[in-house]
Symmetry: C2
């Protein structure tokens, strides 16, 4: 985000912001709590989720640096934001950022683009949640993660560590952990991936994985 600012604005911002570190699992913003500040994500992954009264949970988005975390202009946060890995953020008071947005067209455009991109991603995921089978859902998530974590790689292979637990994946896909686990086993049996130490994934055939995405 700071890329969109000029030196004066950076100075102004630095007087109002604090650098904060959050260990994995810590909550940045709670669902239905008042929004007093936004968090400029510097490092790590943030998980956005919503929970039904009886505890059923759905992950509704992931954010990566340099996203801005926090629902702009809302009095209350519509969801929980939680550190999915160890995370480093710049916390900006609401009023400071909102004033800055008024003055700075580049920053404004950048945040507008982020919102529109998040909207595209949410709608893509709605198709996955509403219309894909468990096998297709798991394949889709692996492909999504692979393209985020190993974006430069060419060819048929991809190697990466899953940045989330089976429970997180289940909550992202609208499944149970058992179903996710079974689908991983199937992908392994069919020679499409190998798994070591639960989290380390090697995709052997990207084409076959893509074919399973529906």
């Amino acid at each position: 985000m700071c890329g969109a600012l000029n030196p004066d604005e950076l100075t102004l911002l630095s007087r109002h912001t604090r650098q904060i570190e959050h260990p994995s699992g810590e909550e940045l913003v709670g669902e239905s709590t008042r929004v007093e500040a936004y968090d400029n994500l510097m490092r790590g992954v943030v998980k956005l989720s919503k929970t039904l009264e009886d505890g059923r949970q759905q992950i509704v988005g992931l954010q990566f640096a340099p996203d801005l975390v926090g629902r702009l202009y809302a009095g209350e946060s519509p969801m929980t934001a939680e550190a999915a890995s160890d995370v480093e953020v710049c916390r900006v008071p609401r009023a400071t950022l909102e004033r800055l947005i008024e003055r700075n067209p580049a920053l404004r455009k950048r945040l507008m683009d982020q919102s529109l991109r998040e909207l595209d991603e949410a709608r893509d995921w709605m198709v996955t949640l509403g219309r894909k089978t468990a096998a297709e859902k798991v394949a889709s998530l692996l492909l999504l993660i692979a393209s985020h974590l190993d974006p430069e790689a060419a060819g048929e292979r991809r190697i990466f560590d899953l940045p989330m637990s089976r429970l997180d994946m289940a909550d992202y896909l609208g499944l149970t952990i058992e179903t996710v686990s079974r689908q991983f086993s199937r992908l392994k049996k069919d020679g499409i991936i190998t798994i070591t130490a639960n989290r380390h994934i090697e995709v052997l055939s990207l084409a076959k994985l893509q074919a399973r995405c529906g």
Copy 2:
């Protein structure tokens, strides 16, 4: 949208726009087609949907007047926009609207707010798609429609006509039409709603309907 414009801007706009009517079912923008213009929705309901290669469809949003239809700043539309009822729009060329946005802070804020609201709605719906049962999904949709179409009504009752077919509802909820139909029958049998002529709904107990939303 025009509420955010001054007289000069309205004159400018009127020279560049055309009023267009679309009968129900007509496509405004096709998935993966070039975006040449935006549509300012004056009357009616527009359905946004995405389709998998094998034909499975998911509705990812509904738009009502006075929303702007069309993905801002994108070269290609990420989804299909289709008239869900008879619809009247003001078609604005891309460049015209984008220039106007640069100059007019009120318009800019209005479109930003629309994007953020659509993002909230999409994420709410992700919870419905991923974590609710068929019964809860149908109840949630009825409640959503009731609050849109009969927003002023007080008390336990709501009366309205469904603005969509069973197939549309199924595509919105990630279900089949048969499952939707069965859930309607159950709501009828349990005395929560009555249905006449397939589309005319009377909600007898809003509280009971809400209790079924999960």
